[in-house]
């Protein structure tokens, strides 16, 4: 976003960037920036904490009032209180045979798991009034079947005009992740993103499916599919063997 800041400033619009990675901001040098000590994906801090979020915005707006420059990085002083694990949280119940493996193939277990999480996901939607499932444009059951078909090696055609099959695979994988993670957070407890990620990637059929699909696609001759599988399915920190 540093380049965008410079272009807008040259046109007379004042800008302040939020920085999540201080060394990167020091290198890219936006006109003005506020560094915040939050995890990637949360530039305004904890969810459902309006007072905290407002403090971040006010700190950013105050940077606009500084007269020195051209590059200014100020530090926000407080950590995200929602970054800590919640010991009261527990994941939704999924029978061991579905989650970890004896009830049929991995693809079949993924489809079964999506059905098992339906009630929890409906509770999430009722609580929050929205879902972030929808990137593929497919109902979640079709997303699961589409991902499962890829895992079975059938390389299904894209179900949407104008979207390539590998792109639809990426979007369907994103929707499966969003569905499972929303279902897992549909209780009073407030799990950290790490708790949710540990559960999803280590204890679910969906996580195991995406790991397996990534491995399978990496040996494809389709360079675009290899690119998507290698970089845009499993977060770098969750790739098996990444430490």
């Amino acid at each position: 976003m540093s380049a965008l800041g410079h272009y807008l400033e040259e046109e007379g619009i004042a800008t302040v960037a939020i920085s999540l990675i201080r060394p990167q901001t020091e290198k890219t040098k936006p006109p003005r920036a506020l560094w915040v000590p939050f995890e990637l994906g949360r530039p305004f801090g904890p969810p459902s904490d309006p007072a905290f979020q407002k403090r971040v915005i006010l700190a950013a707006l105050q940077v606009l009032e500084r007269e020195k420059g051209p590059v200014l990085i100020e530090d926000f002083p407080d950590d995200d209180p929602r970054g800590r694990p919640d010991p009261a949280w527990h994941p939704p119940f999924i029978p061991a045979g579905v989650a970890a493996g004896s009830d049929g193939s991995l693809a079949a277990r993924l489809v079964a798991e999506i059905v098992l999480l339906r009630d929890a996901h409906q509770r999430w939607v009722a609580q929050h009034g929205r879902t972030t499932v929808g990137l593929s444009g497919l109902p979640i059951s079709e997303c699961a079947r589409y991902v499962a078909d890829w895992l079975r090696g059938t390389a299904p055609a894209s179900p949407r005009e104008g979207f390539s099959a590998p792109l639809m695979l990426r979007f369907a994988v994103d929707d499966v992740k969003a569905y499972c993670l929303e279902a897992a957070a549909a209780e009073i407890a407030k799990p950290s993103s790490r708790q949710l990620g540990d559960w999803f990637w280590n204890e679910t059929a969906a996580g195991a499916t995406i790991h397996a699909l990534r491995e399978a696609c990496l040996s494809s001759e389709d360079e675009r599919l290899k690119l998507i599988a290698g970089n845009f399915m499993v977060p770098a920190a969750r790739v098996r063997g990444s430490g």
Binding site: M1, E11, A14, T15, L40, G41, P47, I57, L61, L167
Partner: protein, 134 residues
């Protein structure tokens, strides 16, 4: 050299240029939208009347948390907070339109789109913009 402007609370109009967001047009599924597909250099328009259930993230990177956004869109796109600050008189007003870039894009390819955006912002009488990453 970027131009620095000294602002005082009360006369500022704010807008957000979030990263990697696109608006879902219509519900339920199978609605047409224009998601980011890769390292797109252009931007998406997010009108101020966009509802939380209409905003998704199609950013190409998966190496950032999305569970915060799932719970509360203000984590990435703090439109509710800006409205509150405007109602309190801390900022003058909130822009009528907001925008989203991929961010992880070649700056040279982004330039024409950024300068076009500056024109839109000026038409909307926006004089300050927050640029949050994800």
């Amino acid at each position: 050299m970027p131009r620095f402007r000294n602002k005082t609370p009360g006369d500022r109009t704010g807008a957000v240029a979030a990263q990697g967001c696109d608006r879902l047009l219509g519900r339920p599924c199978r609605a047409w939208r224009n998601p980011f597909r890769g390292r797109d250099p252009d931007y998406r328009v997010i009108p101020a009347d966009t509802r939380p259930e209409e905003l998704l993230i199609s950013h190409i990177s998966i190496n950032f948390d999305r569970t915060g956004f799932q719970e509360d869109w203000n984590v990435v796109f703090p439109l509710d907070r800006l409205r509150e600050l405007a109602a309190e008189g801390t900022i003058g007003s909130v822009g009528q339109t907001h925008y989203s870039f991929m961010g992880a894009t070649d700056p040279v390819q982004m330039e024409s789109h950024a300068r076009e955006l500056a024109g839109r912002l000026k038409s909307d009488q926006v004089d300050a913009v927050i640029l949050p990453p994800v």
